[in-house]
């Protein structure tokens, strides 16, 4: 190599363009990523960062532009090409087979020969080497279903390294992790970097960018709007660059004016088919005009609590009073009945529960409210009324693009969430249950969603928020309940709560 040419970058993109129909998703993006660094790419949902990475990984073909890897111009026609060039991607949603062991997942697609035994033995040795080199230890014979989410992610990373990747792309890796698991992930990324692996981190969580990366690129509306050394910038500046205006990360709200009790759960319990006690003697009181936050590590009964309160699963025991109606194990409510009583529910997993991916946005905008007026008259769905309703929701909640006939799955996560939230809030429910209000949602939208929840509270709605994001609970809630192992283990006023005490309670140590 001549002295004048700078060392070839691990990845160089030049003038990448990509359009989907009339949507110009990536506009003339160029970037340069040095070998052995951790680079963050931030941007709001729909800013084009995932599309850009999909082009790099060969999932999409760019309309124009060049991709250079290690100083060579390459064509990425499909992910196989990308893998051959040492690029690996860890997706936000894991691509693992639950019933297979770690080792079996590892060799999937690289079985090596007619009989599995040889490939498995080789994989076992390779796995041991990777574990040694990168400090990524995991039991190769454990079944995926038995692993924690953090461990499953480690398997995904190992899978990519196993295929010989030297460039690792992680798409929103912390979306499903607890704070502790996220810290562990960043330590792993640091080790990988020290071993010469190039890491690209796609996220919208600015704190993570600050904690983990060396350089950061900011995308907005398909363009690369800024590039900084992480040490030279801060969360405020990045947030402003992402959104294109000043962002307030703090939430203003006045003291709550609590009214009558609209939802009361007494001794609520839920036992599944295998006899596992998922909810154990849960008692909750929810009053008009307050936001109650439920904090806890994922899997401690929060999801089940929401399902029981929304009428999706009947409780095994205990009583539930919703807007004056009494329900128990013998006379459980169902979701339609709960809705009629004035209870609205924004489910935790919007893709799986809150919408139908294949439906048009306008069809998703009436899910659960399709029976009866204003959407059904004389047994027929009033198409124009549904369309107008969807346009109205989209305008009021700034859903982009405002296209009611677009497939629901073609909206970004934040916009899907805004649409679902809009659907539930505009009905002015008496009780609003919200699961993970901002999971996978960008900063601009988080600010918006939080303000809408506070607005609903101030209008006299009783709001219950379940979230794994402690920051969110701390800034939103008027009272905080902590769940551990299916029980409510304590209640804290937000003024007296901090992350440490809550963290201890969430781990079951601070149980009263």
């Amino acid at each position: 190599m001549q002295a004048l040419t700078p060392a070839a970058a691990a990845i160089e993109l030049r003038g990448i363009e990509k359009s989907f129909g009339s949507v110009h998703a990536v506009r003339g993006v160029s970037l340069r990523i040095e070998t052995g660094t951790i680079t963050g790419i931030v941007g709001e949902n729909g800013a084009g960062k995932s599309t850009l990475m999909s082009i790099l990984y060969g999932l999409y073909r760019a309309d124009a532009g060049e991709i250079w890897i290690d100083g060579h111009r390459v064509e990425m026609a499909n992910p196989r090409d990308a893998i051959a060039h040492g690029i690996g991607m860890v997706h936000q949603h894991f691509m693992l087979i639950d019933t297979f062991t770690v080792l079996e997942n590892m060799v999937l697609g690289a079985e090596g020969g007619l009989l599995l035994a040889g490939g498995l033995a080789a994989a076992r040795a390779e796995l041991a080497r990777l574990a040694r080199d990168y400090g990524l230890s995991i039991d190769p014979d454990a079944r995926i279903a038995d692993l924690s989410v953090g461990e499953q992610q480690r398997v995904e990373i190992l899978k990519v390294l196993f295929r010989g990747a030297r460039i690792l792309i992680l798409d929103e890796p912390s979306a499903v992790l607890t704070p502790q698991e996220t810290d562990r992930l960043f330590r792993i990324l640091q080790t990988l970097k020290e071993r010469g692996v190039t890491v690209i981190l796609i996220t919208h969580k600015l704190r993570e960018i600050m904690a983990a990366t060396d350089r950061v690129y900011v995308m907005r509306q398909g363009r690369m709007v800024a590039e900084h050394r992480t040490a030279d910038t801060g969360t405020e500046e990045l947030a402003e660059l992402m959104v294109g205006r000043k962002v307030r990360l703090e939430l203003d709200k006045v003291a709550p004016r609590q009214g009558e009790v609209l939802l009361r759960a007494e001794h609520l319990s839920l036992v599944d088919d295998r006899g596992v006690r998922l909810l154990d003697d849960v008692g909750i009181e929810l009053r008009a005009g307050e936001i109650v936050g439920i904090a806890g590590v994922t899997g401690n009964g929060q999801s089940e609590l929401l399902q029981v309160l929304a009428g999706i699963r009947p409780p095994s025991g205990g009583r539930l009073m919703v807007c004056g109606q009494l329900l128990d194990a013998r006379h459980p409510g169902n979701p339609a009945e709960m809705r009629a009583l004035g209870l609205a529910h924004v489910p935790e997993d919007r893709l799986r529960q809150g919408m139908v991916a294949a439906f048009e946005a306008s069809e998703t905008s009436i899910l659960g409210y399709q029976d009866g007026p204003p959407f059904t008259r004389n047994y027929l769905i009033d198409g124009p009324a549904v369309g107008a309703h969807c346009v109205d929701l989209m305008q009021r909640f700034d859903v982009r693009p405002p296209a009611p006939s677009l497939r629901s799955s073609h909206f970004s996560g934040g916009n899907q969430q805004k649409l679902v939230l809009a659907r539930e809030i505009v009905r002015r429910p008496k009780v609003l249950l919200v699961g993970q209000p901002t999971r996978g949602v960008d900063i601009g939208a988080i600010e918006f969603i939080h303000r809408e929840l506070v607005k609903a509270r101030d209008a006299g709605c009783a709001v219950l928020v379940v979230s794994v994001e402690l920051d969110e609970i701390l800034s939103l809630a008027d009272r905080i309940l902590v769940m551990f192992a299916g029980r409510i283990v304590g209640e804290v006023a937000p003024g007296r709560a901090d992350e440490r005490t809550l963290g201890l309670m969430m781990a079951g140590a601070g149980a009263a």
Binding site: I312, R352, Q353, G368, G372, Y379, I381
Partner: protein
């Protein structure tokens, strides 16, 4: 430089692609026909003449298409609910039984204008009831509907043989068939042809299914269940009841084959009249992309193949009945299973034209 592939324009997707598929199928058919020593162009001419050559052949084509429409719709309605109904054959059979029993019981008392709707309703009711059992078994007991509907075809077949031989057989008759229906139990038909009023019923069913699936809250809930059962539960849909509803509608539609065959053509209950229409409905629905209007077009193609194929077998001795089935199979293969095969070629072609 490589050409960029873009999605095809809508007209090419809807009209050109299926035509290319059918053309490809006929090229392969032509090769096979040539191999057995028949001039493919002669055969093709016979086929076309056999379909549209006379009012008689057109009448037969439409009569066959009527049956394919009913079973195609039956499969599609279940499919939109995420259920794979393979029991169209048995549901058609039992639907015909219901239709026939109503007529045998009432044809000496009621006038045609009253008896016809009753018999049609009986066909729907019996077809629905035959589908309701597997639906119930799936909804409440978790037995897979694919398995149970297949088994119910055999049960239906055995039941019909028993009934025809032992119970419903006309007194003094040597063949297992019922007595003939009185004129009030016969559908108005075109004289000398099997084509009858059922064609109108089939078209009405297409429109009704379209309205039901896309313009009623029940159709909305049904499609929600088919795409995403969890979202359907969230929306307040009772999945068990919806499974029952979808399967009963599906069975009722299949049952209408009995109306066309028994009330329209045979004018008595006979054995084996479903003759594979129930199974062919799966291919019709697949080809019509589970949309009622697509199904009507696919049913027309299937009807034409049935009629033209019969003509072909009659005119050219070396093309046997089995050969006709091969031809039909190839058309299904190319326009159903291999439907997307020519898409990349067409896309390249369009890109070439654009550049």
């Amino acid at each position: 430089m490589r050409l960029q592939r873009r999605p095809l324009p809508a007209w090419a997707e809807i009209a050109l692609l299926p035509l290319v598929n059918i053309a490809l199928a006929f090229i392969v058919v032509g090769v096979i026909v040539a191999i057995i020593g028949v001039d493919p162009f002669h055969a093709l001419r016979l086929l076309v003449v056999g379909v549209v050559g006379s009012s008689e052949s057109i009448g037969y084509t439409l009569y066959y298409a009527t049956n394919f429409t009913f079973t195609g719709l039956a499969v599609a309605v279940a499919f939109h609910a995420g259920l794979f109904n393979i029991g169209g054959e048995g549901q058609a059979y039992i639907g015909g039984l219901g239709c026939g029993l109503a007529i045998l019981a009432l044809d000496s008392y009621l006038p045609a204008w009253l008896l016809i709707p009753i018999a049609i309703a009986a066909a729907a009711l019996f077809g629905a009831a035959w589908a309701a059992v597997p639906a119930w078994l799936q909804a409440w007991r978790g037995s897979h509907i694919v398995i149970t509907t297949i088994m119910f075809n055999f049960v239906a077949s055995a039941l019909m043989v028993y009934l025809m031989v032992n119970v419903l057989i006309a007194p003094g008759s040597m063949t297992p068939q019922s007595r003939g229906f009185a004129p009030s139990g016969q559908l108005p038909a075109i004289p000398g042809l099997p084509l009858n009023l059922s064609l109108v019923l089939a078209l009405a069913c297409c429109i009704a299914v379209w309205v039901f699936l896309w313009h009623t809250p029940w159709g909305y809930a049904l499609r929600t269940m088919g795409h995403n059962p969890e979202a359907a539960v969230y929306a307040g849909t009772n999945l068990r009841r919806m499974t029952m509803l979808a399967m009963c509608l599906s069975g009722a539609l299949a049952g209408f084959v009995g109306v066309n065959e028994l009330m329209g053509v045979h004018h008595r209950i006979v054995l084996d009249f479903p003759a594979g229409y129930g199974f062919a409905g799966i291919a019709v629905a697949l080809m019509g992309r589970n949309h009622p209007f697509g199904i009507a077009l696919a049913a027309l193609l299937f009807g034409a193949l049935q009629q033209g194929g019969a003509e072909l077998a009659f005119e050219i001795p070396s093309i046997t009945r089995e050969m006709v089935v091969v031809i039909q199979g190839l058309v299904i293969l190319f326009s159903g299973a291999l439907a997307h095969l020519p898409r990349p070629w067409l896309q390249s072609l369009f890109a070439l034209r654009a550049s």
